[in-house]
């Protein structure tokens, strides 16, 4: 079979595209290529997540640079004939911009072009299951160069110079962390990669592991060399089967090629990596709980100090970084710490990946320099709010984070600015909320998550999350008083100050930040028994606007408690309020917008 291929077809095999049918497209594409005798001249490359998940399954064709979206298996036969045989783009699968312009190539797609990719530079561009493709993109050169031409201290200095800070949420300077492990005495040291990504809505770590796993392995080996560790652990959650499979393949290939194992690059440095699969407890993303879990114990946090760099895994000095933090390292060593520090803001350097989700047009992964404004991310890259509804707030940092209201749309996204606003960068989940989201309900949602995920070891978190959740529920149901609001605030502050680990300390953040920016919504629920966004069902009334009702009766037929009637001789229907259970069925089924929800 000839090695030269006329066309390279990149098929995104990230979890989102797989869920929307990429495997079927892959199978059909292979069939059609064989059918037309093109198998030898067109190669299908399965890549990791390319970013614009809402457009999946994604197919891009090189060298033409044509980008197809929402490709269905049934599109494939025509696409093959039109593009691969006759050489013209298959128009039904091209992306149309909101303005009506057709986007034919990746170069025209604002979502991709307005990003600055370092962490994701290979995602969607290489086949993650072939180490050769990573090597072709300068993979493992940073490791080889560090081992043969740099001392461990020089490596750490370079990382310090870059200004890189922990991307898992806390923002601790990475170079400093590495230096602490290097100085910590002991014959055996460990490095760990935290891939226990658990924030609802965040999936950049998964995408890096699925799309460019070698990048993380290389960075861990570099860290091992810089800090004196010979063993690394990747702790990945079991909910990420594709990431796990790709890590396993990558580790095997790296060993075959001598990028992991004994005496790397003909030096006396040896390093190997083991994979540990966690059962999916949110608390296991906390570093001390994570180490307990690796040791085979129940995943519960431990008091610090001693810090992991003093006494970590199996009592040995250990240092943990998050996947995204590692993914920056090879780039930093290849281009120099100064080049990295040139990006971003004064105290937040480099780029950050955000998982854009919620009521935004282009959902997916977005990598931008630190300090990029929220407006640019939501409107410039994200394409704005779905249905062009008003932007209300952005929730960042998941259950440990907070909300940024519309008034602060121009706030730069970096560690300091977000903290000042009562939100956090966190792992980088960014959920866009429009005017149909009730902020009390949002806070309640996150608190419910924390109730489930609290490990129960310390009382402020175990009992606090439950109590806060119950107060929020009374507010949503219109049964709370202003005294409850005070109690809520006190309880939140107590949890923040008294909990053992980060989970409990940050769990009240969504409540505190919505109280700060949207206190009037809480008060409307309590004082007026009204949900301004018409979300909290217990506070809603459904009625029928007689001017719009056509008397078709679809609401009456669908009402589960049969409380929508019309009087004899009348043409229009009415909701009998005393029996209404506020399920909202009538609102959903009415074809004429006659049901009023308020």
């Amino acid at each position: 079979m000839p090695e030269f291929k006329r066309l390279h077809c990149f098929l995104c095999m990230g979890q989102a595209c797989v869920s929307s049918g990429a495997r079927e497209v892959r199978a059909r594409l292979a069939e059609e290529l064989a059918e037309h005798g093109l198998s030898d001249e067109v190669v299908i490359v399965e890549t990791g997540c390319a970013g614009p998940c809402v457009h999946g399954p994604l197919l891009s064709v090189w060298p033409d640079e044509v980008l197809y979206h929402q490709v269905a298996a049934d599109d494939v036969p025509k696409l093959v004939v039109e593009h691969f045989i006759k050489g013209r783009p298959y128009t039904p699968c091209l992306i149309t911009e909101p303005g009506g312009d057709i986007i034919a190539t990746q170069r025209d797609f604002a979502f991709l072009q307005r990003q600055h990719k370092i962490v994701l530079e290979n995602c969607g561009v290489i086949d993650p299951e072939r180490i050769e493709e990573y090597i072709a993109r300068d993979g493992y050169l940073a490791l080889g160069n560090a081992l043969t031409a740099m001392t461990p201290d020089q490596v750490i200095d370079e990382v310090k110079l870059s200004g890189l800070r922990g991307r898992g949420g806390a923002g601790f300077p990475t170079g400093l962390k590495w230096g602490l492990l290097r100085q910590s005495p002991g014959p055996q040291k460990y490095v760990i990669c935290n891939a226990d990504e658990g924030d609802p809505g965040a999936f950049m770590d998964r995408s890096v592991l699925e799309g460019d796993p070698h990048r993380v392995l290389e960075a861990m080996a570099i860290k091992g060399y810089a800090t004196g560790a010979d063993t690394g652990y990747i702790y990945c959650r079991a909910e990420y089967p594709l990431a796990i499979r790709r890590i396993e393949i990558a580790v095997r290939q790296a060993r075959e090629y001598g990028c992991l194992g004994e005496g790397l690059f003909e030096t006396d440095f040896s390093f190997d990596i083991e994979l540990r699969v966690g059962a999916g407890a949110f608390v296991c993303g906390e570093e001390t709980a994570l180490m307990q879990s690796i040791e085979g114990k129940r995943g519960q946090p431990m008091p610090r100090p001693p810090f992991p760099t003093q006494r970590g895994l199996w009592g040995c000095p250990t240092s943990i970084n998050n996947v995204e933090t590692y993914a920056n390292i090879p780039w930093i060593l290849r281009h120099g710490g100064a080049a990295y520090a040139a990006l971003g803001t004064e105290r937040s350097k480099g780029t950050k990946v955000f998982a854009l989700a919620g009521n935004v047009k282009n959902t997916g992964l977005v990598e931008v320099p630190m300090g990029t404004s929220l407006r640019e991310v939501v409107f410039g890259i994200g394409g704005g709010v779905v249905d062009d509804r008003p932007f209300k707030a952005a929730q960042t940092g998941g259950p440990s984070g907070g909300c940024i209201p519309a008034a602060h749309l121009d706030a730069p996204l970096d560690y300091e600015s977000l903290t000042a606003l009562g939100a956090i960068v966190g792992s980088g989940g960014l959920i866009v909320l429009d005017d149909t989201s009730c902020m009390v309900d949002v806070a309640r949602y996150y608190m419910e998550f924390c109730v489930d995920e609290s490990c129960g070891k310390c009382i402020p978190c175990r009992a606090g999350t439950r109590q806060v959740y119950e107060i929020l529920t009374t507010i949503c149901e219109g049964n709370a008083t202003m005294a409850d609001l005070d109690r809520l605030e006190k309880l939140c502050l107590l949890m923040r100050d008294m909990s053992l680990c980060g989970l409990g300390q940050t769990a009240p953040n969504p409540v505190l930040s919505t109280l700060r920016h949207f206190r009037e919504e809480y008060e409307a629920h309590i004082l007026e028994q009204r949900c301004p966004s018409a979300v909290c069902r217990k506070l809603l009334t459904f009625s029928i606007n007689p001017a719009k009702c056509t008397g078709c009766g679809v609401c009456a037929r669908n009402c589960p408690v049969e409380t929508i009637h019309k009087e004899d001789g009348e043409r229009r229907y009415e909701v009998h309020q005393d029996e209404c259970i506020k399920c909202g069925m009538c609102f959903d089924v009415c074809n004429f917008g006659a049901v009023v929800k308020e």
């Binding site: 000839p2 090695e3 030269f4 291929k5 006329r6 066309l7 390279h8 005798g37 030898d40 001249e41 090189w62 060298p63 033409d64 640079e65 691969f84 045989i85 006759k86 050489g87 013209r88 561009v125 290489i126 050769e132 493709e133 090597i135 072709a136 993109r137 300068d138 993979g139 493992y140 050169l141 080889g144 160069n145 043969t148 090629y257 001598g258 990028c259 690059f265 003909e266």
Partner: protein, 125 residues
């Protein structure tokens, strides 16, 4: 493996992936509309690809396009080189296609006996 091995591996792998970068020196365009296919542009395409592969050229892309409109001169192939006026070859067969690669692309000598035009009719210079 040492650092030099890695660099060699990188060169080899990068050649394979060269098609995914944005700029190549030569662009060989094959007309593959219905009439072209009927007159053998598939064989021409196969021959071009095989020759590029055999010579391990990494600065060439071979692409398909629709009919040129000059049906009786099919199979038609255009060779584009950055900045130069494109050269159009017609009435090709597999043998001629191989010569386009070995002569024009590799040595820079046009295969004059098959040249039918410098750019296709109607194209703006």
């Amino acid at each position: 493996m040492n650092l030099d091995d890695l660099r060699r591996l990188r060169e080899k792998a990068a050649r394979e992936l060269a098609l995914r970068s944005e700029h190549r020196r030569f662009r060989v365009v094959v007309c593959m509309g219905t009439s072209g296919l009927a007159k053998g542009s598939r064989e021409v395409m196969d021959a071009l690809l095989a020759e590029v592969d055999r010579l391990e050229l990494d600065d060439v892309e071979v692409v398909a396009t629709g009919s040129s409109g000059v049906e009786d001169l099919e199979p038609i192939v255009t060779v584009e080189e950055g900045g130069e006026t494109p050269v159009v070859y017609g009435q090709l067969d597999a043998d001629a296609a191989r010569r386009i690669i070995t002569e024009h692309v590799v040595k820079g000598r046009k295969v004059t006996q098959y040249v039918i035009a410098r750019r296709l009719p109607g194209e703006v210079s």
